[in-house]
Each structure stands twice: as structure tokens, then as C-alpha cells.
């Protein structure tokens, strides 16, 4: 119990510090934007980690679910009688989760690279369909989406995502997902319905991707099918692997590191992508298992460590 209160306190303190920073102006709008991007990437990376890292299902379609969330929100909050933003966001997540279910049921029978292709395929189908629906703006997208969310919303949702995912992972349900990753046959023989857990991971992951997409629409104000293309999925996958497959804290750190690296590289426009690719390779060479491997850095561990240190 004390542990929980402590964690809550840390979460609140971080929130207070950043909010204050923004009020005072130490954190200017540019930095704030990048902090929001980090939070968004955390949601996307941790949720993909549930699918690919924890459950071991190689998915290249995360951006597709993001698109569903983003478009749902964009449409619902711009209706003649607009729905409230957070309700729309939830609906966006549910739609994405539903898509995850529809796609997951047949596709998750496939393994490894075959699964990768199928998920990639579905994400592309989602994108192409949106691209060809004029009501959704077609290729030119939807712009001037009213802003429905700000720093507080981003922060709270990111924290909730982390807590929910980590609670799932550290339960029997999460362990069953890990079992699916490690050895499907062995998992089945100890009574784990591997299909169910694959689909479950897929649905939960898709839900949070949808939420992430909706948050994007609600803050960035402009969406286009092209934003949610295959390369977006790859970007998220890179974060997951770089952080360490199966490590939520790894995903969080990778989301932070990669977003900051990318921002810093803005300063060298001519070679930014060349440098980025080299950095990517070097990190992988030095940390082949990802920054954290399968380990987790828990907030509670850090706290208790510090207390001991004092």
C-alpha cells in the first residue's frame, strides 16, 4: 500500500513540475510539443510491445489501428452535433480494438513473418480504404480538427496506459501471453488457449493504438492517411525492439530516447536521416537485446533504492 502511494506521489510530482515549467515558460511550446510526442510514442510503443514483445506476435500493422482511432475521433468531434472529445476517444479505441478482433481472429493463425505480412496487409487495406472515402477527406485528409486534448490529457492517458499494461503483464494473463511467446506447444499443454491470448493481446494493443491515434487527431489537428503508413508501424516497432522486446520500461525509455534523438537531429538538416540510421545501427550493435533486454526498471525499485541510499 505504501508503495502505491509513493508511486502515485511521484506521478503527481512529475506532473506538477512539468505543468509549472509550462506555465512559467521554461518549457516552451516547442519542447512541450516534443514532450507530447514522447508521451504519444510511449503509448504506441508499449501497446505494440504487448503484442510483439510480450506475446511474441510480429505485427507490422500498428499504424492501421492508429488510423482508425484518429479518423473516428476526427469525425465524431466535427459532427454537426459533436460528441465530447473523451467519449470520441474511447469510441476510437473501441473501434480499433474491434478491428483488431476482426483481423486478429483469422490472421493470428499465421506465424512469424507470415503474420507480419498479413498485419502489414491489413493496415494497408485500412489506409487505402480511408484514402478512397471522400467523406474522410480522401488522400488530402481532414484538417482543422478542433483541439480536444492537451498536456494533462496526454500525461494522464500515458500513465494509465503504462499502469494498465504493466498490471496485465504482471498477472497470470500476462504470463500466459509470455508463454505463448516462448513456446506455443508447451503453452497449450499446460492449458493455455494460445489463440485466445494472441487475440487478446492484439485487441488490447489495438485499443491503445486507437487511443494514440485519437490523441494525435485531437492535438495535432490534421490527419491524412499517409501519416499512418507502413513506415509509421516500422517506427513504432523500432522503439519496441530498441527498448527491449518484452520490457515496458524499455519501450518507454526508447520512446524518450528516439524522440529526443530525432529532435536533436533537426539541427543537422542535411544529414539528419543518415545520422539517424547510423545511430540506430550502433545502438543495436551495442545493445542487441535492446536497451533493457527483457528486464524492467520499476518505479518502485528506483524509489526503494533511493530510500535506502538516503
Amino acid at each position: 500500500m505504501r508503495k502505491r502511494i509513493l508511486i502515485l506521489a511521484v506521478i503527481l510530482i512529475i506532473y506538477a513540475i512539468f505543468t509549472l515549467g509550462m506555465k512559467v515558460g521554461i518549457i516552451d511550446d516547442y519542447i512541450k510539443l516534443n514532450i507530447l510526442l514522447i508521451l504519444l510514442n510511449i503509448i504506441l510503443a508499449t501497446s505494440l510491445n504487448l503484442i510483439s514483445g510480450i506475446t511474441g506476435q510480429f505485427s507490422l500493422g500498428h499504424a492501421g489501428f492508429m488510423a482508425i482511432g484518429a479518423y473516428t475521433v476526427a469525425v465524431l468531434i466535427t459532427l454537426p452535433k459533436p460528441l465530447p472529445f473523451y467519449l470520441s476517444l474511447l469510441i476510437g479505441g473501441v473501434f480499433a480494438a474491434f478491428a483488431g478482433l476482426i483481423i486478429g481472429l483469422p490472421v493470428l493463425r499465421l506465424r512469424g513473418d507470415y503474420l507480419a505480412i498479413a498485419t502489414l496487409g491489413f493496415a494497408e487495406i485500412i489506409r487505402v480504404v480511408i484514402q478512397n472515402i471522400d467523406y474522410l477527406g480522401g488522400a488530402s485528409g481532414i484538417s482543422d480538427i478542433p483541439q480536444g486534448i492537451d498536456w494533462t490529457g496526454y500525461y494522464v492517458i500515458a500513465i494509465l496506459t503504462i499502469i494498465i499494461l504493466s498490471n496485465i503483464i504482471n498477472s497470470s494473463y500476462g504470463r500466459a501471453m509470455v508463454a505463448v511467446r516462448e513456446d506455443e506447444i508447451a503453452a497449450e499443454t499446460i492449458g493455455i488457449n494460445t489463440t485466445l491470448f494472441k487475440v487478446l493481446a492484439f485487441v488490447i494493443g489495438a485499443f491503445f493504438a486507437g487511443i494514440g491515434g485519437g490523441m494525435y487527431a485531437g492535438y495535432f489537428g490534421f490527419i491524412q492517411p499517409d501519416i499512418f503508413n507502413f513506415f509509421k508501424s516500422i517506427d513504432i516497432l523500432v522503439m519496441v525492439v530498441l527498448g527491449g522486446l518484452g520490457s515496458l520500461s524499455g519501450s518507454i525509455i526508447a520512446a524518450i530516447v528516439l524522440t529526443i534523438v530525432s529532435t536533436l537531429l533537426q539541427n543537422v538538416p542535411a544529414v539528419r536521416m543518415v545520422l539517424y540510421s547510423i545511430i540506430l545501427i550502433i545502438i543495436m550493435l551495442f545493445r542487441p537485446q535492446g536497451l533493457l533486454g527483457k528486464r524492467e526498471i520499476r518505479l518502485s525499485d528506483i524509489l526503494s533504492f533511493q530510500r535506502r541510499g538516503v
Binding site: 516547442y30 484538417s143 482543422d144 490534421f222 491524412q224 499517409d226 533537426q266 539528419r272
Partner: protein, 367 residues
């Protein structure tokens, strides 16, 4: 906090372009035009006694990054205005920041009709401008050209469904052409980076259109012309300013680059000294032929410089915005530009014909 720092001895202009990634070829060419014009202006002493300083960033052809960079330019770098981006998507994304921080953003080449208009209210976005014509104008021009000059009644369209430029032209051409009594016999779409068009061309061939309209960029244009001709399709092929690159003829091969017509901003054969100087200078600098991206971006800098001069302030974004709005009959390489109330460049279009791979001036169409 957000106002432009007064002490600066230069005029800082932000450049937000696709220098890497999917459409780097547009951004890189646009940057050439921007740099060339800036150098010229600075050599002549700058504007209002100050030199232009370009603050250049690469948005990786990524929309989110375009917004990120626009935010940076508007807040951290304190530039007077933002030049860019080349594509409508990135520009729209960046425009979110432009509106928020009240800084003019002027695109050299983004053509989507909706770019400068608020999608919710339909009003013109105060800080968003462009120096090129928009899709509906070009679509109109080519539809009229098809009906009146080529005198064709049935047209097949090939377009890039993943490109808002291509879709915009397609849509507006269709409307104008059918209104004028023409018939669209086929509409075929493909997605970015396609190289193989024989499938859709074969289908089109079976429908026997009198002409083909292909609102695409030069890479695809060259391939479409070539593959169509190889399949024995001989009818005229039309396009927009995306065709305006010498590569179209090179790719198609001079044998096939015939009976091709496209609308664009200016003709290389235009005897106007400004045009000829521009072409000569560009060739010297870059050992290459200029295309539409280079030319409009080149004009972009001069147009902004002109507005700064009229605003008589090197620091005030609001004054610059007004001056931009007031731009009338600005004489650039790509024509005489007036910024209309929708913040679009109003100017004449020229129609170019390819004859044995050579660009020949065909006619001029006024707005």
C-alpha cells in the same frame, strides 16, 4: 515572448522542406530555387538594408515533423515567416502551428484547394499562402484545353490516389470536363512510386478514349507516356505542372514524347529576360534544367521579399501578412502573380506541348 527579436541584423526566414524521405526530390529542388533567389537578393544588398538569413530544416517528408519544425521556427528560431512545404499534407500540418503562432507560411507548390481554407468555417486561413495555382484552376484549364483546343469528347484519367495533388486535379478536371459536355470513359488510380502502368493502360486502351489526362508528377508521367505509346495508344496525353520537368521527355524517349500537353507556370521559350536569366543562371549553378519546383520556389522568395519591402518592417509578422495579402501583379518568373482573397496565387497558366521530346509553347490561359 513570441515576437521576432528586434536586434537582429538579418531577416530570418524559416525553411521547412522535405529534404529527405519520400518526396525529398521535391524539397531538394525547391531548396535550390529558394537559395538561388536568396543569394541574388543578398548580393544586391538585401531588403530594407538587411540580408536574408535562411533557417533551414528538413521535415523528412513527415507531416508530424513538418508541424514540429514549424513550431520550432515560429517559437524558438523566431523567424519572420516560414517558406514551405512542397506538398499540401505537410503544409497543412505546418499550418496548424502557423495559425497558432500567427506567423505567415507560404508554400511554393502545395496545390490542394483546401490548403488555405478552414475546413470547418470555409474562411480563408489568415496566415497561410501559396504562390502556385491551386488544383481547381489547373483542372479547369486542362478541361477547357481538352474541349476547345484538342476538341476531344472522351477522356480517360490516370491518377495517383495517394497524392492529394493528383486527386485534386483529377476531381476538378472531371467536373469541368463533364460540365463542358465531355465524357470520362475511364478513371484509373495507382499509388505512389508505381512504375508499372501497362495494366491500367491496357484497360484504358480497350475503352478507346480520345485523350488521356494524367495529373501526376514527372517520374510517373515519363513512364505513363512511354508505356502507353508502347502499347500502341496514340491519343493525346495531358497533364499539369507535374509534367514540367525535362525528365518527362527523357524517360518517355523523344520518339514517344509527342502529342503530350500540360499546363504549367511559364515556358522556357518565353523571351522575357527574367525567365531567360533565371534559366541560364540555374543551369550554371546546378548543371541541370529547372523544373516547376525550382521556378515557383525562386519566385516565392522574391514575392516574400517584395512583401517585406512593402510592409516596411523586417520584424513584424502581422505587417508582412497584410503585405502578402496585398500582393498585386507581382512579376515573377512564373508569371504575374496576384494573391487573391483565398490566398492563392492568381496568374496565367501556359500550355506546353511536347514535340519529339522538346517543350514547345502552345498557348496561354488567363485566370
Amino acid at each position: 515572448l513570441l515576437s521576432y527579436s528586434k536586434s537582429s541584423s538579418t531577416i530570418k526566414l524559416g525553411v521547412n522542406l522535405e529534404l529527405s524521405g519520400a518526396v525529398a526530390q521535391y524539397g531538394q529542388r525547391a531548396l535550390e530555387g529558394i537559395k538561388m533567389a536568396t543569394d541574388e537578393i543578398n548580393k544586391k544588398g538585401g531588403i530594407l538594408g538587411k540580408k536574408i538569413e535562411l533557417v533551414i530544416f528538413d521535415n523528412k517528408s513527415d507531416k508530424t515533423e513538418a508541424l514540429n519544425i514549424a513550431t520550432r521556427l515560429a517559437t524558438k528560431e523566431n523567424v519572420l515567416a516560414i517558406l514551405g512545404c512542397t506538398t499540401s499534407g505537410a503544409t497543412k500540418s505546418a499550418a496548424v502551428a502557423a495559425m497558432k503562432y500567427k506567423i505567415p507560411i507560404i508554400s511554393p507548390t502545395a496545390t490542394d484547394d483546401k490548403l488555405t481554407l478552414d475546413e470547418r468555417t470555409g474562411k480563408t486561413k489568415a496566415y497561410v499562402f501559396r504562390v502556385c495555382f491551386n488544383d481547381s484552376f489547373q483542372g479547369d484549364v486542362m478541361a477547357k484545353f481538352a474541349l476547345k483546343t484538342l476538341k476531344v469528347k472522351s477522356v480517360a484519367i490516370i491518377y495517383d490516389a495517394s497524392s492529394d495533388y493528383s486527386k485534386g486535379l483529377e476531381k476538378n478536371f472531371k467536373v469541368a470536363f463533364t460540365k463542358g459536355g465531355g465524357k470520362i470513359v475511364a478513371e484509373e488510380a495507382f499509388a505512389k512510386s508505381e512504375q508499372e502502368f501497362s495494366g491500367i493502360l491496357t484497360k484504358i486502351k480497350a475503352k478507346n478514349p480520345e485523350a488521356i489526362f494524367a495529373p501526376v508528377y514527372y517520374d510517373e508521367a515519363g513512364l505513363i507516356i512511354k508505356q502507353a505509346r508502347e502499347l500502341g495508344i496514340k491519343v493525346p496525353i495531358m497533364g499539369g505542372d507535374g509534367f514540367d520537368d525535362p525528365k518527362v521527355a527523357e524517360k518517355a524517349g523523344s520518339k514517344y514524347a509527342n502529342n503530350v500537353y500540360f499546363s504549367t507556370h511559364y515556358s522556357g521559350q518565353d523571351p522575357d529576360k527574367k525567365v531567360q536569366d533565371f534559366i541560364k543562371k540555374y543551369k550554371q549553378l546546378y548543371k541541370n534544367e529547372p523544373n516547376a519546383f525550382v521556378a515557383t520556389s525562386y519566385d516565392l522568395v522574391y514575392l516574400v521579399a517584395d512583401a517585406i519591402k512593402r510592409a516596411n518592417s523586417t520584424t513584424d509578422r502581422e505587417k508582412l501578412r497584410k503585405a502578402l495579402e496585398d500582393t498585386k501583379n507581382f512579376a515573377g518568373v512564373t508569371g504575374v502573380i496576384t494573391i487573391n482573397k483565398y490566398h492563392n496565387a492568381q496568374k496565367a497558366a501556359v500550355i506546353i506541348e511536347l514535340k519529339n521530346g522538346v517543350q514547345v509553347f502552345k498557348q496561354k490561359i488567363n485566370p
